[in-house]
């Protein structure tokens, strides 16, 4: 800023340059007055912040939580495939899906506990049940799911080892509850895959919160395609027909839900999904999902092609989770994503004549 007396003769300064996403030339909101595009109804507010410091704090979660998002999805889908195998007489699919479910859910639970500030207090998660807390609801879902998945998988291990587990009289009990346990795990599979989306949506982290309507659909689709991918890797093709169908349905759901989500979200809060590390991961996740889906459709009956497609699907799901996770953290670290959408919605409400619900009041 200069303070020269000739300042008044300077031409007007150009408007503050808005953050550009390097490679993508087009901007959604530019008011070129030629009427070719929709004009914004409220003027773009000037963006100010307190020394560029974030307003909200990012969740103190490391990659462990993103890994859990992925593994929880794999476990959930696997339990459904396990139940399907159980009910339709596909023993190999049933066995591999059950083992996959237990492995994934155990790994996920370890990652979750490791991420706690006080891991030794992990059981405090179960000292109460709170509907207002997706984390509490999720802890109970995870526990209920793990119980069923564990029993079903132990029964498989016992069978594989030729009844060598030191179970004694409990073997009969195990064999009796094995079927119901598979059903129980499958009952909690959907909630296990979907609650993590509510967990992320129910935060003040701009990108996650703005995505709360569609994120559950993205996450269950991602769980479907990942678990189907795992089954295609582990199980011979003669038993993976349903897994291939689930994979294709999952890919269609995943790509569609992601597109709809990005369209319906606040355009500013959606930016982190296209930028930086998160943007790259989500771009590749879509490519891999489509590739895996096509591979499943075209070469799913070939063992090697099926396994390769399965790996692509698993990678796609992992990248989706990591991408969404990272985008949220990035949105919390930049005050722009908190302040601009909030100013816009406040201005829009005021333009619509709603003036009674602002936190800032003149009297």
């Amino acid at each position: 800023m200069t303070l020269s007396e000739f300042d008044s003769f300077r031409p007007a300064e150009p408007a503050r340059r808005r953050r550009q996403d390097g490679k993508r030339g087009m901007r959604r909101r530019r008011d070129n007055g030629d009427g070719s595009r929709e004009m914004p109804m409220v003027p773009e507010p000037e963006f100010t912040s307190y020394y560029g410091r974030p307003v909200v704090k990012p969740a103190p979660w490391g990659d462990d939580v993103a890994i859990y998002l992925f593994l929880g999805g794999v476990a959930a889908g696997s339990a459904l495939l396990g139940l399907g195998g159980q009910l339709t007489g596909r023993p190999t699919l049933r066995r591999n899906a059950r083992l996959g479910a237990l492995t994934a859910v155990s790994g996920g639970a370890v990652a979750l506990v490791k991420d706690l500030g006080r891991p030794e207090r992990f059981l405090h998660m179960l000292r109460t049940f709170k509907v207002t807390s997706p984390m509490s609801v999720g802890s109970w879902i995870l526990s209920a799911f793990s119980a069923g998945a564990g029993v079903a998988a132990v029964a498989e291990i016992d069978r594989m080892s030729g009844n060598r587990l030191p179970l004694g009289p409990l073997r009969k009990v195990l064999q009796a509850v094995e079927g119901p346990a598979g059903v129980e795990a499958a009952l909690f599979a959907g909630p296990l895959a979907a609650y993590t989306a509510v967990l992320l949506g129910d935060t003040a982290t701009p990108t996650w919160n703005a995505a709360h309507e569609e994120l559950p659909f993205v996450f269950v689709s991602s769980a479907c395609l990942a678990s189907a991918g795992l089954a295609m890797v582990t199980t011979p093709v003669r038993e993976t027909g349903p897994a291939r169908k689930l994979a294709v349905l999952g890919v269609v759901g995943d790509v569609l839900a992601m597109k709809i989500m990005e369209r319906r979200m606040d355009p500013i809060a959606a930016e982190p999904l296209h930028q930086g590390k998160a943007g790259t991961m989500l771009k590749w996740s879509e490519r891999l999902a489509v590739a895996g889906g096509l591979g499943t459709l075209l070469g799913g009956r070939n063992r090697i092609a099926a396994a390769a497609s399965g790996v692509a699907l698993l990678a796609a799901s992992a990248l989706t989770r990591f991408g969404v996770f990272e985008a949220g953290l990035a949105s919390a670290k930049d005050p722009r994503y908190t302040i601009e959408p909030q100013k816009n919605r406040l201005a829009a409400r005021r333009a619509a004549g709603v003036t009674g619900d602002a936190i800032t009041t003149g009297s």
């Binding site: 307003v55 006080r118 269950v220 479907c224 027909g241 619900d357 936190i359």
Partner: protein, 336 residues
């Protein structure tokens, strides 16, 4: 369970049987002198470790940075030129002219507010420069995002309507950190309890930092409130910029103060958190600001995320149904 949004009495929602009045702060930033006595008093009373390593942040006199696990009062410093003062004055005037519906009985000073168009807007003090100083603190929201999402029950609503963490219950899951729309609560990762004062001490083992890995934030000095004492920051404030009392009285005081300032031509004055119809159901800590909230690092339109939770559960339920249907379709669609 109480309601998830809108005006309510949080203490009654939390099933406290006796009728304690809700307590709160009114931070009048127009008389804050930026002495940081509140920060110091807070640290001393609550035994909060030092965070950061005593670096200069290059943001005026603010070297604290932000509220956090070990900083429960934070004094913000903003330096502004004449242009910005005029803008603030205009935006404040626009707020008044919105004709905000008042809640409760009209204050005595209300008539002074109505004819702001003729109010003398010559700056009451230095016109070409001003310093904004504001002591920020936990808002103790009516609908607290942190409290709603806490899975362990470590965060609870006290009989004073405030929100407090139980250190022995919290397992540091971090959900509350993301749940707070104001970025107040934080998981304590490290800190310095005691600095070395002599050469020998430097190499000695540092004393253990209390409550590492646990979410920490302002308790509104719960331990002092139960003994009928004023919170440390309000007690230490030399200019009474931080006022403490019954929440209703604080809101009334704030309304009177903003009317007084408006009558003096300071149309930039506005209240933050005094409206119980806002996105968090009104805050327990009310502020009088002299510019837009984001200038102070406060969110302009915070909304407790849990307000949308029923809708999120509905959408998740639909997604679960879709997943089950996809699995059923995969197995039932012919056993080729």
């Amino acid at each position: 369970m109480g309601q998830l949004s809108g005006p309510t009495d949080p203490t009654a929602d939390a099933h406290w049987e006796h009728n304690h009045p809700r307590k709160g702060f009114f931070t009048d930033t127009s008389i804050c002198i930026g002495c940081k006595a509140c920060e110091v008093a807070c640290k001393e009373w609550n035994h909060n470790p030092q965070d950061g390593n005593l670096e200069l942040l290059g943001s005026s006199y603010d070297n604290t940075g932000a509220l956090g696990a070990s900083t429960w009062r934070h004094v913000a410093f903003i330096e502004q030129g004449q242009e910005r003062i005029i803008e603030a004055r205009e935006s404040g005037r626009a707020l008044v002219n919105l004709g905000m519906p008042r809640i409760g009985p009209p204050a005595q000073a209300a008539p002074a507010v109505t004819d702001l168009a003729e109010a003398d807007t010559t700056p009451p003090d230095t016109a070409d420069f001003r310093w904004l100083m504001s002591s920020d603190v936990c808002k103790h929201c009516t609908h607290a995002g942190c409290l709603d999402v806490c899975p362990t029950g470590a965060l609870f609503r006290t009989e004073f309507g405030t929100v407090v963490v139980q250190d022995d219950v919290c397992n540091g899951c971090g959900t509350c950190v993301a749940g707070c729309p104001f970025g107040v609560i934080e998981r304590r990762s490290n800190g310095t309890v005691k600095v070395a004062t002599s050469r020998e001490e430097q190499h000695a083992k540092h004393p253990e930092v209390p409550n590492v890995g646990i979410a920490q934030k302002c308790t509104l000095c719960y331990d002092r409130l139960v003994a009928d004492e004023t919170p440390a920051c309000a007690k230490a404030c030399p200019t009474t910029s931080i006022k403490f009392g019954d929440h209703d009285d604080m809101v009334e005081t704030a309304r009177e103060r903003v009317a007084t300032l408006h009558a003096q031509g300071m149309t930039e004055a506005r209240l933050y958190g005094a409206n119980e119809n806002d996105g968090v159901g009104g805050t327990g800590s009310v502020f009088l600001l002299l510019d837009e909230p984001e200038v102070y690092g406060l969110p302009p339109d915070p909304r407790v995320p849990t307000a949308d939770l029923p809708q999120m559960y509905r959408r998740a339920g639909m997604a679960v149904a879709g997943m089950a249907a996809a699995a059923a379709l995969a197995f039932l669609g012919g056993r080729a």
